[in-house]
């Protein structure tokens, strides 16, 4: 399907367009001044993360590591009426001890229709970004493939405080590029109607974040 002649012609046109660039110039010779800030955060990053996630009208619950985690997960799921929960492989079993509803595991892979019929999904995260109130998923253990955290209408995401990074540059550098990665900043939203922000279009309309404070 690929068209080698088209490729050659495009590259030839580009090279001819760039005749003013000296032949010995390497890409690295074009200066890029990277003296922007590594982080804009000086305050407590966990407090900031919570505040910024809440700015997007997501709900954040803070709990210490330990017994309260399963209790809070059970409470949130019960309050949201979740009786049919998608649980990705690798999600800590002990954290679901208080949840009594049905579980949907992804083995064999759930169909899009099955995910659509569920009440919600619980996942871990890869990292949090304090300044922007962002949760990053990278399909690692306890997060599942991307569809799991996308199709259900409620996403309960458990983030450890030690996973929260201050700002975008350190977060980008901590990513593993080849992993399918999703940045999530609040529930899905649109401003397409008179630039009036509405939460909840195609992604999960409810985002619950449980922040586990580990020492």
């Amino acid at each position: 399907m690929t068209n080698p002649e088209a490729k050659d012609r495009i590259l030839a046109r580009i090279r001819s367009a760039l005749r003013d660039v000296p032949g010995e110039e390497r890409p690295e010779d074009v200066a890029v001044t990277r003296d922007y800030r590594d982080s804009h955060v000086s305050a407590d990053i966990v407090d900031l993360f919570v505040g910024r996630v809440e700015d997007y009208r997501a709900t954040v619950t803070r709990v210490p590591e330990g017994q309260q985690v399963p209790a809070e997960i059970a409470r949130i799921l019960a309050e949201r009426g979740v009786a049919n929960l998608v649980v990705p492989p690798g999600f800590p079993e002990e954290w679901l001890a208080g949840y009594e509803g049905a579980r949907l595991t992804d083995d064999p892979p759930l169909t899009a229709a099955e995910l659509d019929a569920s009440d919600g999904v619980v996942t871990l995260a890869a990292q949090g970004i304090a300044l922007t109130g962002t949760i990053v998923l990278d399909a690692g253990p306890g997060q599942g493939r991307r569809a799991l955290s996308l199709v259900p209408d409620l996403h309960l995401c458990v983030v450890r405080s030690s996973q929260v990074l201050p700002d975008v540059p350190p977060a980008v550098r901590a990513l593993v590029p080849h992993r399918p990665t999703t940045f999530i900043s609040g529930p899905s939203a649109t401003s397409d109607i008179e630039l009036d922000r509405v939460e909840g279009v195609h992604g999960p309309r409810t985002l619950e974040v449980l922040l586990v404070v580990d020492s």
């Binding site: 580009i14 890029v32 899009a112 493939r145 980008v172 590029p177 279009v201 195609h202």
Partner: protein, 486 residues
């Protein structure tokens, strides 16, 4: 070009002054635009003010883009190698026709005749939906605003919020009228509340997402070193499209390549704050080729030229390719605010459209595109707002000169060319200048007495939309001779 027509401009579009004249008569349009642009302008200023190193970030963004453009051939080859190594397939398309043919063939190969689409400027530019329709393939836009425009068989008027020209009541009417003809109908008793309208769109599209076998997207960036492609969005329709179908086809302008994955640390700060004025947009998806067991198992990346290599050849116009499609320049532009996007008759409206469109189609090749560099007051607000420091005002002046040059051999040269010729005669000698000043002052008095604000002859067209200030009774040079010496 290989002789195929680029599709950047809408065929049969009137020139900007004519289209703008019509748009300005539409009071509803002007109200919608004013509301929308002022809202987003204020929000953007607040979002940008939060970062005290904004200027440093802009500079880095501009330098990274400069590096890419000066070595575009090398970066594209690196990108191709990375994407291929990660299990993707790279295609090269010289123009709109080639790109749409590749997409249509890929869709056919999957044995389907429908695709879901993420909002993408590149696919709009190549007229993909129309080309696929001609091939019997239905493409459904899944961005809310694009859906509104598509259901209404309308044209987008803004890069970021394509239905900015529509208010909520108009949108409700479009949904009531059209949704049923294209799938799940709008619910009974649909109101014009944005929340209710968004819910109707969710129901209408969900069925299509769950069924789709092929999705088509654009790309906000692609990292040459890793082959990672990214889409930045708000609604989750982008995530649906890049995650659920078996096959993903991404159409990307060749200028969207970034040297390295870590460059995202700059653009993920610049783009959301400039476009939707948020600290971060709700969703950003990054994928690298194909991941077994997660998302599409077939990934095609189409690298689109379509006038970009020609744009690259103009050293002074080249940096129009730095654009990251944030639309900040539209929102701050006094011309855009009054005329709206459709007056530009191009997929790329506003200040960036005024410099990009004529270059992509070629200066001198379309009367309509040639009118766009003049659709500006040169106030400079667009440069200040641009997150990658594209000097749009400077480029507009450069392109105006190119347009005038391109028409020098016409039977009737551009009035600007005649005016400049006249100016050369007048400014060429102090005596002639003094005489012109005297005549000007006299003419001004005559016009002033008659209460008129017009110029005669061919200049009348210029004064039809502008007031001519009455020239001073005495020129500065005359005054200086009398009283100027300290």
């Amino acid at each position: 070009m290989s002789g195929e027509k680029v599709n950047v401009v809408w065929l049969g579009s009137p020139t900007f002054p004519n289209a703008a004249h019509e748009a300005l008569q539409d009071a509803q349009l002007r109200r919608n635009l004013k509301h929308a642009t002022t809202t987003i302008r204020d929000k953007r200023l607040r979002a940008v003010a939060e970062l005290d190193d904004w200027e440093t970030l802009r500079l880095a963004g501009s330098q990274i883009k400069d590096r890419v453009m000066r070595h575009l051939d090398e970066y594209l080859l690196r990108l191709e190698a990375s994407v291929t190594a990660a299990g993707g397939v790279v295609h090269w398309a010289e123009d709109a026709a080639a790109a749409t043919r590749i997409v249509a063939d890929l869709v056919r190969a999957q044995g389907t005749d429908e695709v879901v689409k993420v909002k993408s400027m590149a696919t709009q530019e190549i007229g993909l939906n129309e080309a696929l329709a001609a091939d019997g393939i239905t493409a459904t836009e899944t961005d809310l605003a694009e859906l509104i425009v598509q259901l209404d068989d309308d044209r987008p008027s803004h890069i970021l919020v394509p239905a900015i020209h529509r208010n909520r009541t108009e949108i409700r009417d479009i949904f009531r009228r059209e949704m049923g003809k294209n799938g799940v109908p709008a619910p009974d008793g649909l109101t014009d509340e944005p929340r209710v309208l968004a819910e109707a769109a969710r129901r209408h599209l969900r069925e299509k997402f769950l069924r789709a076998k092929v999705a088509v997207s654009g790309a906000n960036f692609a990292c040459a070193d890793t082959g990672t492609v990214g889409v930045v969005e708000s609604e989750g329709n982008g995530r649906m499209c890049v995650t659920l179908p078996e096959t993903l086809i991404t159409v990307m302008g060749i200028e969207k390549v970034l040297p390295s994955f870590t460059d995202l640390e700059v653009f993920l700060q610049l783009l959301p704050r400039s476009s939707t004025a948020e600290r971060m947009n709700p969703y950003t998806s990054l994928w690298t080729g194909v991941t077994p067991g997660d998302g599409p198992q077939e990934f095609h990346l189409i690298l689109l030229d379509n006038g970009r290599s020609a744009t690259l050849a103009d050293r002074e116009g080249r940096s129009a390719l730095h654009c990251i499609r944030c639309s900040a320049c539209l929102n701050v532009c006094p011309v855009y605010e009054r005329t709206g996007g459709r007056s530009y008759g191009s997929v790329y409206p506003g200040p960036i459209g005024a410099v990009l469109t004529p270059q992509l189609v070629g200066v001198g090749s379309s009367e309509h595109a040639d009118s766009l560099p003049f659709a500006s007051t040169l106030c400079g607000a667009c440069f200040d707002a641009c997150p990658v420091r594209i000097d749009i005002p400077e480029m507009l002046v450069h392109l105006r000169a190119k347009v005038v040059d391109a028409h020098r051999q016409d039977r009737l040269p551009k009035p600007e060319a005649l005016a400049m010729k006249g100016a050369r005669v007048v400014f060429g000698s102090p005596r002639r200048l003094a005489l012109a000043e005297k005549l000007g002052a006299l003419g001004g008095r005559v016009a002033g007495i008659r209460g008129g604000r017009w110029l005669p002859g061919p200049a009348r067209k210029w004064t039809a939309a502008r007031d001519v200030p009455v020239p001073a009774r005495e020129s500065f040079r005359a005054w200086w001779r009398k009283a100027g010496r300290p």
